[in-house]
């Protein structure tokens, strides 16, 4: 940044970016019934993100372009879209990643389109309701140690951008919404299941309506997560192991019966 001593002047082609250059943004315009991409020229300044470009269009070219956003700081998870075929947050995707290319901005593919870049993500909120909430063993304040909350804290970083739900091929390509809760809710369940104070049991839900078996651990959710949550490695696979304990491991079952019986 503005630290001349660390900057290699010669290697700073971006210095010229002080003056705006133009880029082409191709934005999906349309609604549930029909639509197509439309091209716009946008002046690009240093550090601009895709969301800035959409805002510029709204203010200067067409105030009816619909897009969802709140924080413009990658905190709220509202501005998810498919950008050049890759699911990402518009407020975190820099335009200078695409210099010399047309930037295609489309709504998330997995969810029904409402208008332009806005999709109907209400399904996610319905799924959330089906998960039994945190059920503590005793009243707070709890004595809990950092090592015991570490795992849960990783999952609670989730900003509910639903990019993982968008990219998960079970939902995206196989319309698995009636069978699988999707990665976002696998980490939700993992967080609750690994909570040291929780007494509820969601393993049967996982094996049944939650549809954990439909995930084939191909890790795309983990690849797109803007919060860098290890969705597959730290949540889904451990949950698969927990269901295997109950449904696929006769030896463990025997052990458990002996211990409880």
């Amino acid at each position: 940044m503005a630290q001349p001593q660390t900057m290699d002047q010669a290697a700073a082609p971006e210095a010229g970016a002080q003056q705006a250059t133009d880029m082409t943004l191709s934005v999906f315009r349309g609604d549930a019934t029909a639509g197509e991409e439309r091209e716009y020229r946008v002046p690009v300044g240093p550090g601009m993100v895709v969301l800035d470009a959409v805002h510029w269009l709204q203010a200067n070219v067409d105030s009816t372009i619909a897009c969802r956003w709140n924080c413009k700081a990658a905190r709220c998870g509202s501005c998810s879209a498919d950008i050049n075929g890759h699911p990402g947050l518009m407020c975190k995707t820099r335009l200078d990643d695409f210099v010399g290319q047309v930037v295609h901005v489309r709504p998330m593919r997995t969810f029904p389109i409402i208008k332009d870049l806005v999709t109907d993500v209400s399904w996610n909120y319905k799924v959330a309701k089906q998960i039994q909430p945190f059920t503590p063993a005793q009243p707070a304040p709890f004595v809990m140690y950092q090592r015991d909350v570490d795992r849960g804290q990783e999952f609670r970083r989730c900003i509910e951008c639903f990019l993982c739900q968008n990219v998960c091929h079970v939902l995206r390509e196989h319309s698995g919404m009636d069978r699988y809760f999707g990665p976002r809710f696998m980490i939700k369940i993992a967080e609750l299941e690994m909570h040291p104070m929780d007494t509820a049991d969601r393993v049967d839900l996982l094996a049944g309506g939650g549809g954990l078996g439909f995930c084939n651990i191909t890790k795309c959710c983990q690849e797109v997560c803007p919060e860098h949550i290890h969705i597959t490695d730290n949540a889904i696979i451990p949950l698969k192991e927990r269901t295997a304990d109950r449904y696929w491991d006769p030896i463990r079952r025997l052990f458990r019966r002996r211990r409880t019986g």
């Binding site: 993100v49 105030s63 820099r94 909120y125 309701k129 709890f142 140690y145």
Partner: protein, 594 residues
């Protein structure tokens, strides 16, 4: 009732909560008991409210790391940094109840950072005597809202997402419900309700350089004002000392106070740690008004950084520590500004952060002067006075969200019938909301928004003076004229131009209130710095300015600040915070203080 104009879908509830930030959700949870029917209405999706952006922590005097801390000290800090125009009773209730509200979050599944003894960890923050902010890295607001959200969806509350309320309906003096439209379709909705809780947050979007999300357009305060509620302390607008500066697209995005709480230091262009010239005792962790002003003065004196700010440096804490304690900051700078904060210092400058003013609310019940209307959270006024302490907002949401929700429930249970709704009023409101579509070649709403932000930045910034404020007020009045001619195109389906048109109307109203308050308060106090009246004057310390509606004009009046009872006043007898004399040596030194 369906008189041609436009169809409207109707609902009936006991308690209607406007807003799904921390305050709104906590209120809804508090209201949804004993079979009381509750609805929450929010402009964006559930869990996306502005609260999600809060970073540093939630202040509650649990004394987990500094056992000498207690409600008295928290009360003391809050009153002092509010420069004593806060409502003492509000602050007292707040300081006493905050710890329980945080524990409650834990019992609903929140996972705060822990101390080695397994308790909730607390970090130091500006102008807090002790380490007091319960936190989760630098994403405390997210933790708070997610916890309340998942608690809320299992409490039988109906949630209307992406619905904007535009007006409160009244039956005589009392509140009768609200009207709004679905952003997705533009369809009108009407809720009849016995009680309404206002929790719509602040209006930081009236400034250009702001840390606030788009929702902070002050709809709630404007709606309440139009329904005859009183707005108080509107001149008090908090500048957070550290916002991002460069590149232009990120200007204003918050750099959490946690950076300074964890040991970050501020230096000017000459490399001097300038806070020693302004507040040698508390240094970087002085109160926000002081730090923001200091940076402003450095820049004015020509000692600013290349883009007009100060350097903030945390590199001495080591990469590993920074990445663990401030992961979002690290990521934010790396991604948006190409800066690795573990390796270099970075530029910061003041940014609009919080609006202390708002709807005047009762300390015990959060009731406003309009029967049936309650207010909590950033939209309410009373707790923070002339300057909010960092971390006090999140606990404010919890403490008074709950109180507002429960009071609204009790109020609603005391009413046997739903107040009536006047269809003529509904029709007028629909007309008002749809007017921009009828204007041909009207004003561009985005243009007006940009201009009003320009005016606020120029005339109602950190440093204010009478002449400039008056000029600003005149400009705002002119913009209000033009706002009547805003025109938009397209359909009512998810139309951002139209949404902005309505927001601009609300914002202009609040801008006017800010100017009127700032003009009337001819002194410097907390966030209000009048260069033509640089001193804090005792007389002004005894009053709050209140704006209220009189037909179509805004009027100003004053209320006396209620004096503290002797036992609370006694806390301020000496210059030492309660508990500090007895505090062990490990005290707040961790933050590089005292």
């Amino acid at each position: 009732m369906e008189t041609g104009m436009d169809s409207i879908e109707r609902f009936e509830y006991d308690v209607l909560v406007l807003g799904a930030g921390g305050a709104g959700l906590r209120a809804a949870i508090g209201a949804a008991q004993d079979g009381v029917r509750v609805a929450v209405i929010c402009k964006s999706l559930l869990g996306k409210a502005h609260t999600v952006m809060a970073e540093g922590g939630v202040a509650a005097a649990m004394g987990n790391v500094d056992p000498a801390d207690g409600w008295q000290t928290h009360f003391y800090d809050t009153m002092r940094s509010g420069h004593f125009i806060n409502n003492y009773r509000t602050a007292e209730i707040f300081a006493k109840e905050a710890p329980d509200r945080v524990f409650e979050l834990e019992s609903w599944g929140a996972l705060f950072d822990r101390t080695p003894e397994g308790k909730i960890m607390q970090r130091p923050f500006g102008a807090h005597t002790f380490r007091r902010l319960c936190h989760v890295g630098d994403r405390t607001g997210l933790e708070l809202i997610r916890t309340l959200q998942y608690k809320g969806i299992h409490c039988g509350i109906d949630i209307f997402q992406e619905v904007t309320t535009t007006r409160l309906l009244k039956d005589g003096e009392r509140v009768a419900g609200a009207i709004g439209y679905e952003r997705e379709s533009g369809r009108f909705l009407l809720w009849r309700a016995k009680a309404v809780v206002l929790a719509t947050g602040g209006w930081g979007k009236v400034y250009k350089v702001t840390s606030n999300s788009w929702e902070s357009t002050g709809d709630g305060a404007a709606i309440a004002y139009r329904a005859d509620a009183e707005l108080q302390d509107m001149e008090m607008v908090q500048f957070h000392p550290t916002g991002m500066v460069w590149p232009p697209g990120v200007r204003g995005i918050l750099v959490t106070e946690g950076v300074r709480g964890e040991g970050g230091i501020l230096v000017n262009a000459e490399g001097r740690r300038f806070m020693q010239d302004y507040d040698p005792k508390r240094m970087e962790l002085s109160s926000r008004d002081v730090v923001a002003r200091s940076i402003h003065k450095e820049v004015q004196a020509g000692r600013g950084t290349p883009h007009g700010g100060a350097w903030l440096d945390i590199t001495h804490r080591g990469a590993e520590f920074i990445r663990r304690k401030l992961p979002n900051m690290y990521d934010q700078f790396l991604h948006l500004a190409d800066i690795d904060i573990t390796k270099t210092k970075f530029e910061v400058a003041p940014t609009i952060h919080y609006t202390m003013g708002g709807v005047r609310a009762d300390p015990e019940t959060c009731a406003t002067n309009v029967p049936g209307l309650f207010a909590a959270g950033e939209v309410a006024c009373g707790l923070h006075g002339a300057n909010r302490l960092g971390g006090n907002s999140l606990s404010d949401l919890l403490v008074f969200g709950r109180r507002a929700g429960e009071a609204a429930r009790e109020y609603a249970m005391g009413l046997t019938v739903l107040p009536g709704v006047d269809d003529g009023e509904v029709r007028l409101e629909q007309e008002r909301v749809l007017r921009p579509f009828a204007v041909e070649a009207g004003e561009n709403p985005y243009q007006l928004h940009a201009e009003l932000q320009q005016v606020m930045g120029e005339h109602a910034g950190i440093a204010r003076d009478g002449a400039s404020l008056q000029a600003g007020l005149d400009k705002i009045m002119a913009l209000q004229e033009r706002a009547g001619r805003i025109g938009v195109s397209g359909s009512r389906m998810y139309n951002p131009g139209w949404h902005t048109a309505l927001d601009v109307g609300n914002m202009l109203l609040l801008c006017e209130a800010i100017f009127r308050g700032a003009l009337a308060r001819e002194e410097s106090r907390g966030a209000q710095w009048r260069t033509d009246h640089p001193d804090e004057l005792e007389d002004f310390g005894r009053i709050n300015f209140v704006e209220y509606r009189d037909g179509d004009t805004m009027r100003l009046k004053t209320y006396p600040v209620s004096p503290m009872p002797p036992e609370l006043a006694a806390l301020f007898a000496s210059d030492v915070a309660p508990g500090l004399a007895t505090a062990p040596a490990v005290g707040p030194a961790a933050g590089g203080r005292e």
